[in-house]
């Protein structure tokens, strides 16, 4: 079974196949894992769409399977995997991270406390926040 890690989510994919450095996923799995889904315009998430090059469709789409690696490379996002091809990180590239920071809107996140309850930055809206990191090491 192939597990796909993207942002804070971790999804075990029923329909995924590793082929060396290429990861083919069912369209529904890719959408569940990353929020990117196939539309007539191409692979889309929110307002953004990545068209599929018409002369190389088969590099990106084979039946109901999508080549996540090919899409990720085109978007200049990093993609790394373990030796067995069972754990795949569909990362986020620096352009996206930088744009988010340059907007000056503090990037939101959801993380657990020790009791396992999830907290977001957004839930503090209306208060000033000192967001501080630390570690035991």
């Amino acid at each position: 079974m192939i597990t796909v890690l993207h942002e804070q989510s971790e999804i075990v994919c029923a329909k995924a196949r590793a082929d060396g450095d290429e990861l083919w996923m069912g369209a529904q799995d890719l959408a569940a894992a990353t929020g990117w889904s196939m539309k007539p315009e191409g692979l889309c998430r929110g307002d953004a769409c990545l068209p599929v090059p018409r002369d190389r469709v088969e590099d990106y789409i084979k039946g109901d399977m999508l080549n996540a690696t090919a899409f990720w490379r085109r978007m200049q996002h990093p993609i790394v995997h373990d030796a067995a091809g069972e754990l795949w990180v569909l990362g986020t590239g620096a352009t996206d991270r930088s744009s988010a920071l340059k907007s000056l809107a503090a990037p939101n996140f959801a993380l657990p406390d020790l009791a396992g309850a999830t907290h977001t930055l957004a839930e503090q809206r209306g208060r000033k926040v000192l967001l501080a990191t630390w570690a035991s090491w």
Partner: protein
């Protein structure tokens, strides 16, 4: 430190939110000792480090009521005095302790000033200043975070050797990141990554800072 800051500014429409770049069980004893009344979050995958392009702890970001950045991520009042401590006794001299306390107190006083005065505080930056002081990642940093995420996942699957390979690659790609390096490093019995390799890596900085000094009245001028 953060609990006393949070308590002293209660009912001022302010909260501390801490994020531990740590495994939950490593963070637990410290959180239980602090008895915090603010959210103490656990981020073993260092997701917030990736979002905010963080490289060390403690780094803090000031965020206003509308969720906008007021001061970009920066050293939250730590000093490099520890680099001069006696490494055999792990004791700091009174002078080093005084320097460490002074930088912390200066930072905490600035937070107080901002909480009370908001955007009128001299410590609150305007948009142009924030953008000038933001440190932005490049694609090698993004790739480093992907390798780190993979390494943490491999640890959960008990694949320690392959995790180590990915931690090493993450550090190779992002050598400025102490959070990646120290999270991956061997820990002593108290959970500290302060063995000989740590000191060697700190000394290799030479004149470069471990905790990047920030521009703030009362602290050394930053090298922004």
């Amino acid at each position: 430190m953060w609990q006393s800051l949070h308590a002293s500014l209660q009912e001022r429409n302010f909260t501390v939110v801490t994020v531990a770049m740590d495994e939950p069980e490593a963070a637990r004893p410290w959180i239980e000792l602090a008895k915090p009344t603010y959210p103490c979050l656990i981020d073993r995958n260092h997701h917030v480090a990736e979002l905010y392009n963080l490289v060390n702890v403690p780094q803090a970001t000031w965020i206003d009521e509308q969720g906008r950045i007021v001061r970009p991520p920066e050293n939250a009042g730590s000093s490099d005095a520890f680099r001069r401590m006696d490494r055999t006794t792990m004791q700091m001299s009174p002078e080093q302790i005084a320097e460490r306390n002074r930088t912390k107190q200066t930072y905490v006083a600035a937070v107080h000033d901002w909480v009370l005065k908001g955007s009128a505080s001299e410590f609150a930056y305007d948009a142009a200043t924030i953008r000038a002081r933001l440190r932005l990642p490049d694609d090698t940093v993004a790739r480093a975070h992907a390798h780190f995420r993979l390494a943490q996942s491999l640890l959960k699957h008990a694949k320690r050797e392959e995790a180590a390979i990915n931690f090493a690659e993450a550090s190779r790609l992002h050598p400025d990141s102490w959070t990646i390096w120290r999270q991956a490093a061997e820990k002593d019995a108290t959970g500290l990554a302060t063995g000989p390799e740590f000191w060697a890596r700190v000394d290799a900085l030479g004149d470069r800072p471990y905790h990047r000094p920030i521009e703030m009245k009362g602290l050394r001028e930053g090298d922004a």
